[in-house]
């Protein structure tokens, strides 16, 4: 659909021929889907605690966008970040161990589901303050600008965050200074229980972002190829020095806001309608049609993903807890040994 606004620039139509890496995109989305389905089981069994927000339904956004980034680029995320972290290459077992609160977790058990970090992959974390990652992303981009490094900082955030001052302050600052920032708004139509049209006076987010003087596109966030295509062009634009770019990813979460949410505010028929557009099934169907995916290949993929998740759960279960004596670690930086 690649819905756009009159004022927002439209990305070029998707190339007809699907590139060879497309099956890898499917694998990546399926891996996120199955990982989170396992998380639900583990949450019900009280192995995972705290707040947990599922990305199920939105996988195409993380997979398509991260595909367009290089290892040098940075990613800043939200509390709904399992998908971003997995797509970015944070190992599944480190994420699972984190949710188990174990010492081998990617945040050493301090963060949990909402605060996954991996500095080695320039994954600057889950942030549980809505909009809180945006100014930080601008700062990462500013540092690159000052140091003359040609890197992109990609910041994911929701439609709800678009209402916060932190978004608008960051958008203005980034556009004013021409920062190398890729702003990816995951518009899943709800901020917790509040529908977009009940929170935004003007619901065309891409158009509003364009008003800051940024290149801004609305994209079908349920189509991983459209997402990837838009993200590549936007990242190219950022790398070419044309300042921040904004992508409004039109997507939908299939599950409740969090594990605590009774989901009373949405019409079940609406959820079912969006499920017809399931990004995983959509791509699998397309690949089947083009003959690039056989039933055997899909079964094999499912098995590979299941094995990886089994192993992640197993290692998280076996992993040691962080000793209570280390409670005060990482509050301030360790004193460097004099060399």
């Amino acid at each position: 659909m690649s819905a756009t606004t009159p004022r927002a620039r439209k990305p070029r139509a998707r190339p007809k021929k699907q590139p060879a890496h497309v099956p890898a995109l499917l694998a990546s989305m399926l891996r996120i889907r199955r990982f989170e389905e396992r998380c639900v089981e583990l949450y019900s069994a009280a192995r995972i605690r705290g707040f947990m927000h599922l990305y199920i339904g939105e996988e195409a956004v993380a997979v398509g966008v991260v595909e367009a980034l290089t290892d040098e680029d940075a990613v800043v995320s939200t509390y709904r970040e399992h998908g971003h972290a997995l797509a970015r290459g944070v190992p599944a077992d480190a994420i699972m161990a984190e949710m188990f609160g174990k010492a081998t977790g990617c945040s050493r058990g301090r963060g949990g589901s909402m605060h996954l970090f991996d500095a080695s992959r320039r994954f600057y974390g889950g942030n549980a303050i809505v909009g809180g990652g945006l100014p930080l992303a601008a700062g990462l981009a500013l540092a690159d600008r000052i140091a003359g490094r040609n890197r992109v900082t990609c910041c994911f955030f929701g439609d709800g965050a678009f209402a916060e001052g932190e978004f608008h302050e960051t958008a203005n600052l980034a556009a004013l200074w021409g920062l190398p920032l890729l702003l990816v708004c995951e518009n899943n139509l709800y901020a917790m229980g509040t529908a977009l049209e009940r929170a935004q006076a003007q619901t065309d987010l891409a158009m509003r972002a364009a008003s800051y003087g940024m290149v801004s596109w609305a994209v079908d966030g349920m189509d991983v190829l459209a997402v990837e295509d838009a993200a590549r062009r936007a990242a190219e634009g950022v790398r070419a020095g044309s300042g921040p770019h904004f992508l409004e990813m039109r997507t939908y979460r299939f599950r409740a806001h969090s594990m605590y949410d009774p989901d009373r505010y949405r019409d079940k028929a609406e959820i079912e309608r969006w499920k017809e557009n399931d990004p995983v099934e959509r791509l699998a169907g397309r690949l089947r049609q083009s003959g690039e995916l056989t039933d055997e290949a899909l079964a094999e993929l499912e098995q590979r993903v299941a094995d990886e998740i089994d192993a992640a759960v197993h290692s998280a279960e076996q992993a040691p807890e962080e000793p209570v004596e280390d409670l005060l670690r990482y509050v301030t930086s360790p004193v460097e040994e004099a060399s």
Partner: protein, 351 residues
Amino acid sequence: MPATGDPAERKTTYREAMREALRDALRADERVFLMGEDVGRYGGCFGVSLGLLEEFGPERVRDAPLSESAFVGAGIGAALAGMRPIVEIMTVNFSLLALDQILNNAATLLHMSGGQLPVPIVIRMTTGAGRQLAAQHSHSLEGWYAHIPGLRVLAPATIADARYMLAPALADPDPVLIFEHGGLYNTSGDLPADAGPVDIDHAAIRRPGTDVSLITYGGSLPKVLAAADDLARGGISAEVVDLRTLRPLDDATLAGSVARTHRAVVVDEGWRTGSLAAEISARLTENNFYDLDAPVERVCSAEVPMPYARRLEEAALPQVAGIVAAARRAVGPEPFTVGAGAPYQDGKAAG
């Protein structure tokens, strides 16, 4: 005002008690409205306002976009113009996005205007840890707000206070902040039939005692009461003081308690440094120095952003065992009595 007319005690929860208080307030005064993120259709992020939208409509139970500074500031403006807004912020952590409005407007307008502009607003928010929500959803920052002249800061710790603190808060002509500990919402118990509007100028003695004063508020009260039970089994009579109002502090009740017990332990889920517990300790030392037989003890949260892992979070928070130990330290070793055991054995002190 909120006389229930119920003849006997009624079983309820902290959450329902708070909801009843909101319902009363909305019924009693046309100027009252509730505003915040997800307070309407969603029913409140902790379910407190569930059903109120249906009863009072979207003008009076008003969903706001994610924009803490804007809707808190709008509440302040509406209060200036004669309304009696109740603004809900989901948690104290997010109130930091509205801190400018709360401090630089709500708390100062009356003074800056030379008394012309009172701000009769009530701002409610959740506080506290204990649910493995990690470092951006767990902190107890009410002590910071208690630092600010111009505000009144309340912390209902019981079902009766949840039920009957809102009316006097709304009656206050100045801004009142109400901190609801997230761990309390599900507590259930009886609402005493004779409960009525809370005296928000005074602390409450939740349990009388003679040996040590355990001073606390909010979500720590159940732990402190459990510690008092534990101490009683060991022969120590602890008096439990629930501050209820964190600003202004009720020095008189604290002084009275310490005059009886001569020892004090302050239990506060905030971080120790610069905490409300530090303020209380300082006041007791300044005002009641000659009543004290031991240094004031403090049991606070460890000075670390709240960790997610269960064991780490438990270790970071005040717990019953730590409160009991602090009380025992304050009370000191049991007095030596002749024949009550050998004070010296093999030339070593026995303990």
